[in-house]
Amino acid sequence: MTAVAFSPRVFRTSEFTLGVVAFAGFVGLTIATSGNMLSAGTLAAFFRFLAVPMVIGLAQMVVLAIGQMNLSVGVLTGFCAMASAWLMIEAGLPAWLAVLAALALGALVGLVNGLLVVFTRINAFIVTLATMTIIEGLRYGVHGPDTFQDYSPGLVRLGRASILGLPVVFVVAVVVAIGVGLFFARTVAGRHLLASGGSPFAARLSGVSNDRSILLAHALSGLLAGVAAVLTVALSGSVNASIGDDLLLPSFAAPIIGGVALAGGVVSVTGTCLAAFLVRLVDVARAQFGIGQQWVDLIVGAVVLGVVLIGAVRGKLASRPSRPATSAGSSRRTS
């Protein structure tokens, strides 16, 4: 009776669609730039600036997993970045301590978001909208509108270093992504978190604490924002209070294009990363061909819609009833 399609299951996933689109886009761009895409400089720039969008997409994804949203991821990234730069420059802390502090700060603020959601039972959208404005104030408070520069040469060197041709920051982002993937796929906490997102009531009946899932998701989201902050500090060499302003919409775009349901219960690390990859491709295409920003926006809009439409059409084709008309009854176990 479980005659669900098995073998081509993987080809029907939205990850697969995205993968194909991303690959085709990459190849297309390589051809269009007559190979310039594959030059070391371009590749390095490509992956270096892919790291933060990937991590920030994951930061949003973990809250989407419980069917909530975190509007504060972007400014939190900026705040953590400013805080760690402040710690290095003004407080004179060594880089590694400042990095740990940024991560801890991110997780802490995320936890506060979670606590507010759990204790007030106010919609997370509104809670994080409020904390977003608070954090915006704090982010500005660190150093006004001015720029921090020259904090830790070692950290900045690391941010610009490469391993096997891949930028270190990108490698870190990939490791983080794998970690997040394993967390959701393999750990009890991750599974419980997803169960809470999928059907909170069913999860509760199975002894899962939805409140704990909410706390965990928000704390993890904050932690990932902290990771994004550290990556930013390392790769850019200078930070100011505007850091994070461009991250909110991409943080939603990546997981949602990547197939994560807004209703919760479903995550896709691969999809999120691939979607970030796609958006990055458009960035690069813009630089390669000198396209105006207006056209880029138009193209991104079209690409998003296109990917999603293809996904929808594929989904429809896949779910079309394909029951054999003649022998359905006898082949199914109906006892």
Binding site: T120, T133, G137, G301, V308, A312
Partner: protein, 350 residues
């Protein structure tokens, strides 16, 4: 058939008691509003200054109420419209272009613009209902596409980023209040001329969702698409209509902002997105669909503007201002929750 089934014993009257009046969330917001006004007036008496506080605040509230309603129109479905701002911009562009090219009077320009807004909304709705793709994604993509389009269009139609000439009447709408129109000694209240536009829009939207078949069917679609479809509701059409309404209201909000700012320009709608959610959600409209509160949206928009104005009068610097806006929001919402929980408890015990 009447005698086939006997009526079961009536539920005792005591069982059927609804929540007390003070548990009404809208009332909570109203109390909050009054408390905030009293607080700010105590701290800064100029909060009640007619020319510099009350009149401009009414004009701003009018804009944000309509912005909130634009989002509310699709929240009713459990959808989102991430393109409210850009629909407003396109709509305002159409109004400006209509006047520039056709020289038509204000009312006609506005109608043309609203039609453009409604059309864009309907387009989003059509894509959503036909493909079943999440509204967030569709409208986000539409937003991106329109951002580009708006600046391309302005670059083409104007020598810069706004229309130079305004249709007659815009200036009066911007600067005048009813107090400026007197019949003998009797002058109107100090209410800006655009306020009635927002009020009428709010009343119509309220009417739609409360008493009209279309509005109710939109809500039912929001409550459960499957059940709506199986109850004979034309689900697809209702989705398109709700999104068209959202586009129309975005356009109206764009017009009101253009009136306040004094020109149809490309920047209209840039700052609409967050307030569009804030007002209805503060007012008790859920993101899941099926229930909306127009009055709540009005109160939500008013409360946010009051907080903003009050903190402005207290002359906080950027960092403190942001901090306090967030804190006031959280505290206000938490108090509202406490009230709600208390009410539920009372209600349950009764």
């Amino acid at each position: 058939m009447t005698a086939l089934l006997e009526t079961p014993p009536e539920a005792p009257a005591a069982r059927a008691r609804s929540l007390p009046l003070w548990a009404n969330p809208r009332l909570g917001l109203l109390v909050l509003l009054v408390v905030l006004v009293v607080l700010f007036t105590a701290l800064r008496p100029s909060f009640l200054d007619v020319d510099f506080t009350l009149v401009p605040m009414q004009a701003d509230i009018s804009v944000y109420v309509v912005v909130g309603l634009a989002q509310l129109a699709v929240l009713s479905l459990g959808h989102m419209n991430m393109a409210v701002g850009r629909m407003a911009a396109m709509s305002a562009f159409a109004m400006g272009l209509a006047y520039q090219e056709l020289g038509t009077p204000l009312v006609v320009d506005v109608l043309i613009g609203l039609a453009v807004g409604a059309g864009l909304g309907a387009l989003a709705g059509l894509v959503i209902s036909r493909t079943g793709v999440n509204s967030f994604v569709v409208t986000l993509a539409l937003d991106f596409a329109l951002v580009g389009l708006v600046s391309l269009l302005y670059a083409k139609a104007t020598d810069g980023v706004s229309f130079g000439a305004q249709p007659g009447g815009m200036a009066a709408l911007r600067t005048d209040t009813f107090a400026d129109y007197c019949a003998g000694n009797v002058c109107g209240p100090p209410v800006p001329l655009i306020v009635p536009i927002a009020v009428v829009a709010a009343l119509l939207v309220g009417l739609l969702f409360r008493w009209s078949r279309t509005g109710r069917e939109i809500l039912m679609t929001g409550a459960s698409v499957k059940a709506a479809e199986l109850s004979g509701i034309p689900v697809g059409r209702r989705v398109v209509q709700a999104h068209a309404l959202s586009g129309l209201l975005s356009g109206l909000a764009g017009f009101l902002l253009a009136v306040n700012n004094g020109a149809f320009s490309a920047g209209i709608g840039d700052a609409f997105l967050l307030p569009s959610f804030l007002a209805p959600v503060l007012g008790g409209t859920l993101l899941v669909g099926g229930a909306v509160s127009v009055l709540g949206t009005f109160l939500g928009a008013t409360i946010t503007q009051v907080i903003y104005k009050g903190l402005n009068l207290l002359q906080f610097q950027v960092d403190q201002l942001k901090l306090y806006i967030g804190l006031v929001l959280i505290v206000a919402l938490s108090l509202d929750r406490v009230r709600h929980v208390l009410a539920e408890r009372r209600g349950a015990r009764a």
